[in-house]
């Protein structure tokens, strides 16, 4: 399935936040079973204004300010889905989704399985996630690994404005539950539709090469998603000066995982670095590195490296820049790939 953005270019949203709002609006207009619910999503339009105007346009029954209770929001969404609606739930911030985990893990993720397919859960859970916006405690968690570790959930994280639109439409259209991770610090990033926005977006589960490399002797693949994609693109630009030709793969979807696109890239470049801001130990990078190693072992000229947040609770805002993986840390990892490759090349002669 592909999702058309619509030909009206004048109305194309300019920021990721606007693109998400537009996706919700268009989905609600296209399908009366789509309902938005959450804290402050109605009158206020959400604390990030993503749902702005929806209550006005579609009424409070379709864009509903709920009582303040995440377990209740997701639990009632389960019941709504049982009765044929398509709830789109907003969690106000990453760490505030935790009260809903019981519903998510015990019911949302496995209802299809429990009922032998009789009761699908077409629920989209939108989670503004990640750091870099100076938020106080509990406003910056990268919680993707909890979701990834739960079979039955799709986990999606857009990195561009166009993907934010297309992937959210796809998530809402999906008959399975989708955890839709919205990188907060990209909410205000501007669209560059001409460069990266095809009029059609691919289904959930497809990675994309954001920046191709030629696959020469000093090339490597940076594998990333969400807020770390722009970091990788910047690092790739900077690495040119060092003679590195870096390919950047934007996963877009963590579950399902697009082994094909990732492995095709790594086979070409022979090296890979996974970059994300979630903690490294037990983090998404470990899974990705293992998959790449299993599939591309004979093509690898260096171990797959990970650049991740430190293994600490997300730090207070004044210290977050020391925690978040930035361009320099990515470049350091790339430099370590070279050492490995020299050793490999040296041993070959």
């Amino acid at each position: 399935m592909t999702t058309a953005i619509g030909a009206d270019t004048a109305r194309k949203p300019a920021t990721m936040a606007q693109a998400l709002g537009r996706a919700l609006r268009d989905a609600m207009a296209a399908d009366p079973s789509v309902h938005v619910l959450g804290e402050d999503v109605g009158t206020l339009g959400g604390v990030f204004r993503i749902t702005d105007g929806l209550a006005k346009e579609f009424g409070e029954d379709r864009c509903t300010d709920t009582p303040l209770a995440e377990a209740g929001i997701l639990g009632t969404a389960v019941g709504m889905a049982m009765y044929g609606l398509r709830p789109v739930v907003e969690m106000q911030f990453d760490a505030f989704a935790y009260p809903s985990f019981e519903q998510l893990i015990s019911h949302v993720s496995r209802m299809r399985n429990r009922t032998r397919g009789a009761m699908p859960m077409p629920i989209t859970v939108r989670v503004p996630y990640g750091g870099g916006i100076g938020g106080v405690e509990h406003h910056s968690d990268s919680s993707e690994i909890y979701y990834m570790a739960t079979p039955g959930l799709h986990v999606v994280a857009p990195a561009t404005v166009a993907d934010a639109y297309g992937l959210l439409r796809a998530a809402i259209a999906s008959d399975d539950p989708v955890i839709f991770l919205e990188p907060k610090r990209l909410y205000w990033s501007k669209a560059d539709w001409s460069a990266d926005a095809p009029e059609q977006v691919p289904p959930i589960g497809r990675a994309v090469v954001r920046r191709p490399a030629t696959g020469g002797r000093r090339s490597a693949t940076l594998i990333s998603y969400g807020p770390s994609v722009p970091v990788c693109l910047e690092a790739a630009e900077a690495a040119r000066a060092e003679g590195w030709d870096l390919e950047v793969v934007d996963l877009r979807s963590l579950v399902p995982f697009d082994d094909d696109t990732v492995c095709a890239s790594v086979r070409r470049t022979g090296r890979a670095v996974v970059v994300h801001e979630a903690t490294g130990f037990g983090g998404p990078g470990g899974e990705i590195a293992a998959r790449v190693t299993e599939r591309c072992f004979h093509h690898l000229e260096a171990p797959v490296l990970r650049v991740a947040g430190f293994d600490i609770p997300y730090p207070p805002p004044m210290l977050e820049r020391h925690h978040l993986p930035g361009v320099d840390r990515v470049l350091d990892a790339v430099a370590r790939l070279q050492w490995e490759s020299e050793w490999t090349e040296g041993s070959a002669v």
Binding site: V136, M318, L319
Partner: protein
Amino acid sequence: MTVLEQPGAYRPTPPPGWQPRVEAGPLLPDAEPYRLLGTAAAAGISPDLLTRLHRELVRGRRYNTQATALTRQGRLAVYPSSTGQEACQVAAGLVLEDRDWLFPSYRDTLAAVVRGLDPVDALTLLRGDWHSGYDPHAHRVAPLCTPLATQLPHAVGLAHAARLKGDDVVALALVGDGGTSEGDFHEALNFAAVWHAPVVFLVQNNGFAISVPLAKQTAAPSLAHKAVGYGMPGRLVDGNDVAAVHQVLAEAVRRARGGGGPTLVEAVTYRIEAHTNADDATRYRPDSEVEAWRAHDPIALLEDAMRDRRLLDDEGVQAARESAERLAADLRTRMHQDAVLDPMELFEHVYADRTSQLREQAAQLRAELDAEAGDSGKGE
């Protein structure tokens, strides 16, 4: 008329052996919030207490306006103001004994300061230098809690533990009207009642959970009514009447300390400022509503009552204001100094002993910081 519409329709034949376990009557809150200031009963309040409450109210207001100003100057990342709610904050901060514990939420910095916390330490979380800027044991104030209602079961557990140890300790837990919808609120109240724990729950009903008004939060006659279902008394009080809040809390604390179990107090107040400096309150409420509540200002209510009893004159007001200005000046000066932070502390308190992974990561950051320092050194 259906059976549901007929009160008593169920009554004639209860099942054998059925007994009401608790008389619900005494648990039920009054229909109207309890007022004390301006009533005859106010004559019973000690002048010393009133003077103390007044001073803290005036200082509290100033603390709020100063902290809000600091957000505009970029010195504070965010501040959820308690302007308008100072009576609840002051009463909560003053009502406990030293050995008791306070469990505040992010909006309750003032209660913590009134309890004795350093005003700058209380703002550390909101400035962004550390998650909790104080040692909770030093003043028996739990860390300001951001996830809603999650501090409530902690208060119950602490009070329960103290009682198990034979200590004479009460816990006072603060929560907003929105927070009462969370599952943790329910679980905390239920545990407290079943365990008969010495806890007091104070709901500051300030009308809104960010943009959501109380009517969309609950269909209960009042939040205090929620107590009855758990088997504890619910008390409804005018949250802008500092004497009333203090009295109701003091009674609940006394009851808890005496082994009478938990109480739920709902203080009806209003959030005069926006949710935080990042919020635009004009989107969800009219100015006229705010103005109506301004006319019911906690400081004015107390000053009028005290002047009536000749417990306050212009001089007294002046003295309180001066004290407030000193507090604000001190806060300003110290908050205008850049926080001195050591990034290496990131690895310090994750575990009692650092894991080998954290040691490695600390070494990595050390090297980065040294390189940074080296670079900037060269530049000079």
